[in-house]
C-alpha cells in the first residue's frame, strides 16, 4: 500500500498580503485592512508591524485611525483572487494534485507530494523550495509536511516556518495545539471547556465510546482529527492559468509615474509566471477604472513575445504617456496573453535589421513625437486617385527568412523616375490662362511665369460615391520674379474650378 505524503502551504493574513504583494513600498509599514460597509468597517487583516503598533483584528476604523502611522487599506476581493491564483500556480510547480483549504482570512492549499522525492529531494527540501517560490511571488507562507492530510493542514495553520512531521508522530506534533485548530463548524468548544479539554492531546486522550455517547457520532471524527488519524479523500482542483494582476488604490492616482511603480511590479509578476511555464508575454492589456465611473483600456503588442521586464515597462510607459487617462485612476488591471518564446535564427549573410524589441520602443517614441498615425510604412491604395496611400504599422517582414539573393528579385527601373514632393495640403494658386494653357500663376508669396506647360492630363473617378474627383494635371516649368525656377504639378479641380499647386518635381 502506498503511503501518501502531503504538504500544506498556509498564507495567513491573506487580505493584507494580497494588497502588499504589489505595494512593495508598504511592505515594512504598519498596514491594516478594513472590511465591511462604511461606517461599520472593521479590521479583518493586518501585518506584523501593525500588530506591534497595537492594532488588532476587529478594531473599527475610528480605533484604527487613532494609531499614528498606521496605513489603512480597503479589502479587495479582486486582488485576493489574483494573489490566490498566484499561490496555487506556485504550488502547482511542485505537484499537479492540489486541494484548496482556505480558512476565513487565510489562503491555504494542500499538495499531494507522494513520489516527488526524486524530483525535489526530501520533504524538507521541497518545503523550503515551496516557501522560497511563494516568497519570490510576494507571499509569506508556512509549510507543513505530513502523511496525514489534516495534520499537515492544522500544523501549517498554527505554526510558522517549516515543519516536517515524521510518519507515526502526528499525534505528538498536534498535541500542544489548541482546540481552535480543529476549525469545527459546530460549537462543542463550550462543552470541552467545561470538561477542561484545551488541547488536542486532551481530546485525543478521551475514550472513544464515552465521547460518542455524550457528543454523538461526529465526535469520532474530531478525536481522530486530534490524533492525526482521520482519513481524507483528496479532491484535487485544477487551477486555471490566467495572467492577470489587479491593484486598487486607496486614493485616486493622478501621476503616471505612480502608476508605473505598480505597473513595474505587475509586469514583473506576469513575466515570472509566464517564464515558469516556458512562455512569454505576447500582449498586455491595461485596464483602468477612472474617477467618474469611466474606463480606460489600451493594448500593447510587442513585435515578438518577450519576458523582458524593462522593455515591457518602457512600452507601457510610452503607451500611457501617449494616451494619458482622462481622470484620476482608482484601480489598474494588467492582463497578459501568453505566447511562445521568440526564437530568431538569423542567417550569417542576412542584412542587418533593427532589433525587434528595440524597434518597438523606438516606434513608440517616434509616435510620441510625431503623432500616432504619422509613423509607419506607406501602402499604396488600389485606386487611380493621385497621391492616395494609407499608413500601416511598420514591421520587419519575416525576420526569420533566410537571406535571399538580390539578383532578379524585384524590378528596379533602369533609369530613375522624376520624384514628386507633395505639398500637404495643396496650396491654392491663381492661374492665368492663354488658349486654355497656364501662362503664369501666383501663390501667397510670389508670382511665377510659366516657361513650359505639359498637359492637360485628365483623371476622374469615384463618380458613384460621395468623394469623386475630376482633375486636370499640368506639368509646369516656371520662373519666379526673383529668378528661381521650378518644375511643379498644377492641378485644376474641374468640379470646383479651382487651381492648386499640388507637388514639386525634384
Amino acid at each position: 500500500m502506498t503511503t501518501h505524503l502531503y504538504a500544506c502551504a498556509h498564507a495567513e493574513e491573506f487580505p493584507a498580503q494580497a494588497l502588499l504583494r504589489l505595494r512593495t513600498d508598504l511592505a515594512v509599514q504598519p498596514v491594516v485592512v478594513l472590511d465591511g460597509r462604511p461606517p461599520l468597517q472593521t479590521v479583518c487583516s493586518l501585518n506584523r508591524p501593525a500588530r506591534l503598533k497595537g492594532a488588532s483584528l476587529g478594531m473599527t476604523r475610528l480605533e484604527a485611525e487613532t494609531i499614528p502611522g498606521l496605513h489603512i487599506l480597503a479589502r479587495s476581493q479582486e486582488t485576493e483572487a489574483a494573489a490566490r491564483a498566484v499561490l496555487l500556480e506556485c504550488a502547482a510547480h511542485f505537484s499537479p494534485r492540489l486541494e484548496s483549504v482556505d480558512e476565513s482570512t487565510a489562503c491555504a492549499c494542500v499538495l499531494d507530494i507522494t513520489g516527488t522525492e526524486r524530483l525535489f529531494g526530501p520533504p524538507h527540501t521541497l518545503a523550503e523550495r515551496l516557501r522560497d517560490s511563494l516568497a519570490s511571488a510576494g507571499l509569506r507562507a508556512s509549510v507543513s509536511v505530513s502523511v496525514n492530510f489534516d495534520t499537515a493542514r492544522m500544523k501549517a495553520a498554527t505554526t510558522r516556518g517549516i515543519t516536517v512531521i515524521p510518519p507515526g508522530h502526528e499525534a505528538v506534533a498536534l498535541a500542544k495545539l489548541p482546540l481552535d485548530a480543529l476549525a469545527l463548524d459546530e460549537d462543542p468548544y463550550e462543552t470541552f471547556a467545561i470538561w477542561g479539554i484545551r488541547t488536542l492531546a486532551d481530546l485525543a486522550a478521551l475514550p472513544e465510546s464515552d465521547l460518542v455517547a455524550r457528543l454523538g457520532p461526529q465526535a469520532v471524527a474530531w478525536r481522530n482529527l486530534a490524533r492525526g488519524a482521520l482519513p481524507h479523500t483528496f479532491q484535487p482542483i485544477e487551477p486555471a492559468f490566467t495572467l492577470r494582476e489587479f491593484c486598487a488604490f486607496e486614493t485616486p492616482v493622478e501621476q503616471i509615474y505612480s502608476l508605473l511603480f505598480i505597473g513595474a511590479r505587475m509586469i514583473d509578476c506576469l513575466a515570472t509566471r509566464a517564464a515558469t511555464h516556458a512562455l512569454s508575454l505576447a500582449s498586455l492589456v491595461v485596464e483602468m477604472k477612472l474617477d467618474g465611473n469611466r474606463a480606460y483600456q489600451r493594448t500593447i503588442r510587442p513585435a515578438l513575445a518577450t519576458t523582458d521586464r524593462k522593455f515591457l515597462l518602457k512600452l507601457l510607459q510610452l503607451e500611457i504617456a501617449a494616451h494619458p487617462p482622462q481622470s484620476a485612476v482608482l484601480s489598474i488591471t494588467l492582463s497578459a496573453q501568453a505566447g511562445q518564446s521568440s526564437k530568431v535564427q538569423l542567417g550569417l549573410f542576412a542584412p542587418q535589421t533593427p532589433e525587434p524589441s528595440r524597434l518597438d520602443v523606438t516606434i513608440a517614441r517616434l509616435k510620441a513625437i510625431a503623432g500616432e498615425d504619422r509613423v509607419g510604412s506607406p501602402v499604396l491604395e488600389d485606386t487611380h486617385r493621385p497621391g492616395s496611400f494609407r499608413m500601416e504599422s511598420f514591421a520587419i517582414a519575416n525576420p526569420t527568412a533566410p537571406y535571399k539573393s538580390t539578383i532578379g528579385l524585384k524590378e528596379v527601373p533602369s533609369r530613375p523616375h522624376m520624384a514628386l514632393r507633395r505639398i500637404r495640403p495643396p496650396a491654392n494658386v491663381r492661374v492665368q490662362l492663354n488658349a486654355l494653357k497656364p501662362i503664369s500663376f501666383r501663390d501667397r508669396e510670389q508670382s511665377y511665369r510659366v516657361t513650359a506647360a505639359y498637359g492637360p492630363w485628365r483623371t476622374s473617378g469615384c463618380w458613384w460615391s460621395t468623394d469623386p474627383w475630376d482633375t486636370e494635371e499640368w506639368d509646369v516649368l516656371a520662373e519666379s520674379s526673383t529668378g528661381s525656377s521650378l518644375a511643379c504639378l498644377l492641378v485644376h479641380n474641374r468640379s470646383q474650378n479651382q487651381w492648386q499647386l499640388e507637388a514639386l518635381y525634384d
Binding site: I369, V412, P416, M418, R422, Y454, D475, A487, Y505, D506
Partner: protein, 256 residues
C-alpha cells in the same frame, strides 16, 4: 642643387628604419560604399554613397535631390535592408518612391508635423532631428534620409554642429548611411560627401512635340563638393582638392 623629389627620397631613405615613408601621407581607410543605382553618380563617387557616414545632397528646388535619394533607397531596400525617411515637411510621395523601385514595406516613414498652425518653423525641424536621433540610436537601419529639402537655409543653419557630430558618430557606430537633403550644406565637417545638384533645361520643349502631355527628358547635373575617405595609394603625394561634375538624366514615368 638636388631637386625636391631627390631630397625627399634621400630623407626617406635615411629614416627608413625608424619612420617608413616619413614624408608620404599614410594611406587613408577606404570607406565601404553602397551604389546609388545611377551609374554616373556611382562613377563620380567611385562606388557610391559611403556606409556609416553622413552624405549631403544639396541644391535648389527641382534639382533632383529627392530622385537621387529614392534611387539609393531603392537599391538598399531591394537588398532586404530596412531604411527610414524622416520627412520634416511631410513632402514624401509614396507613388514616386514605388515607381523608383523602393520596397515600401521596408521603409519607415516619419511624417513630422507642426504642433499647431501658428508654430514656429523650427518646430518641425526639432521633431525631425529628434526622430533621426532615435533611429540612429536604435541601429539596424541601412539608410536614413533626413529630408530638409523644403526647410529654409536660414533655419537649417541653426542646427548646432554638435548635433551633426553626434549623428556622424552614431551613423559610424551603426553602419548607417545618413542622407541629408537640403538646399545648402548643413553638416559642415561632419559630412563625408556633399553632392550639389542642379537642374539643366528640359531637353524637349512642348512646342517641339505638341502632343506631349507629360514632362520628359529632364536632365540633372550632380557635382561633388566635398568627399572624405578618398581612396589613396601609398607612395603618391596628396592630390590637390578637385571638383568632379557629371550629368544624369531622369524622366517622368508614364501616368497611364
Amino acid at each position: 642643387m638636388p631637386s625636391a623629389a631627390a631630397l625627399r627620397l634621400q630623407i626617406e631613405h635615411s629614416l627608413e628604419r625608424r619612420f617608413p615613408a616619413a614624408l608620404t601621407p599614410v594611406p587613408r581607410t577606404i570607406r565601404e560604399t553602397a551604389p546609388t543605382g545611377i551609374p554616373q553618380v556611382d562613377h563620380l563617387l567611385e562606388g557610391g554613397l559611403p556606409i556609416g557616414a553622413i552624405s549631403e545632397i544639396t541644391g535648389p528646388m527641382s534639382s533632383g535631390r529627392t530622385s537621387l535619394a529614392l534611387a539609393f533607397l531603392a537599391r538598399r531596400t531591394q537588398e532586404d535592408r530596412v531604411c527610414a525617411w524622416v520627412d520634416a515637411h511631410d513632402a514624401f510621395d509614396s507613388e514616386s518612391a514605388a515607381a523608383n523601385g523602393v520596397a515600401l514595406g521596408q521603409l519607415l516613414w516619419v511624417r513630422c508635423k507642426a504642433p499647431n498652425p501658428t508654430a514656429k518653423p523650427w518646430a518641425r525641424l526639432d521633431q525631425a532631428l529628434s526622430a533621426t536621433d532615435l533611429l540612429l540610436q536604435a541601429g539596424g537601419f541601412a539608410a536614413i534620409v533626413l529630408d530638409l529639402a523644403s526647410t529654409a537655409p536660414e533655419h537649417g543653419c541653426r542646427i548646432p554642429l554638435a548635433t551633426w557630430f553626434r549623428f556622424r558618430q552614431a551613423a559610424d557606430r551603426t553602419r548607417c548611411s545618413l542622407l541629408v537633403l537640403a538646399q545648402q550644406p548643413l553638416a559642415q565637417s561632419s559630412a563625408a560627401v556633399v553632392l550639389e545638384c542642379t537642374r539643366e533645361d528640359c531637353s524637349r520643349q512642348p512646342e517641339e512635340s505638341p502632343s506631349q502631355t507629360v514632362l520628359t527628358g529632364f536632365t540633372y547635373q550632380v557635382s561633388s563638393g566635398r568627399q572624405r575617405f578618398t581612396p589613396y595609394l601609398a607612395g603618391q603625394r596628396k592630390p590637390p582638392a578637385s571638383t568632379w561634375s557629371t550629368t544624369t538624366t531622369a524622366q517622368r514615368d508614364a501616368r497611364a
